[in-house]
Symmetry: C2
Subunit: 140 residues, 2 copies
């Protein structure tokens, strides 16, 4: 069991030092050991947990969802229906967000294209912002 410092754990996991301490403070990391001088020390399983959290955060899961997923991981004989449900919910969120961003993209492109680079009173960017009715897709 090689124990490493929080700085080294940060380097290896890609999670920043204050963020690791934050995750500990909100109870995402199981109790970990301290050195004589009260410094945190991490072992490989802690690094796995940090990597799990980081990956889940990158995929946009909320902390509370991650807490549930970690509980499931800790108890591998549970049925995985809830993990499945969490991932599916996230997928639906992502799909909606993509649709909405595509609409925004279209709107922004029209604005930027329509800008004649003159003065503000002829600027399509300002004009469209001021009048929602000038949007191509009035859904947002």
């Amino acid at each position: 069991m090689k124990k490493i410092t929080i700085g080294e754990a940060a380097r290896q996991s890609g999670v920043k030092v204050p963020t690791i301490r934050y995750y500990e403070s909100i109870g995402l990391l199981s109790e970990l050991s301290r050195s004589e001088g009260n410094q945190r020390s991490y072992e490989p399983s802690d690094l796995d947990r940090l990597a799990f959290i980081r990956h889940a955060r990158e995929l946009g899961f909320e902390i509370e969802a991650i807490r549930t997923l970690l509980h499931l991981q800790d108890d591998p004989h549970q049925p995985c229906a809830s993990a499945d449900a969490i991932a599916k919910a996230r997928l639906i969120e992502v799909e909606q967000r993509i649709r909405s961003l595509n609409a925004l993209k279209a709107e922004l492109e029209l604005m930027v294209e329509g800008c004649g680079h003159g003065r503000v009173d002829q600027c399509r960017v300002i004009e469209v912002l001021a009048d929602h009715g000038k949007c191509a897709h009035p859904h947002h």
Copy 2:
């Protein structure tokens, strides 16, 4: 000049009452008049401004960007290059976000499809989260 209350302004602009007060507190709305009893009163130009802010927020512009856009709108003889730049920057952000979300979507779909609805120790959702290397596209 018909003056209306904050509640009516909220109804007409689609911006909630506390949010209108918040925008005023951070200086997004120009000085507005009050009734005898110290209640805010709004006129049509204030409603236009609220609609502008709301539309810009829906398009994802940050408050500070909106502050700049409002200054530009207030002074229509300025060149519109900065409005253009703000909109372009936002467009680039949106495009990046869409790309990144599409990658997440692919990952989540693989996770959800691969889940055999059995127990956690065979669950692909947990497995992939735990091991970034199992991602199809290891870019995030």
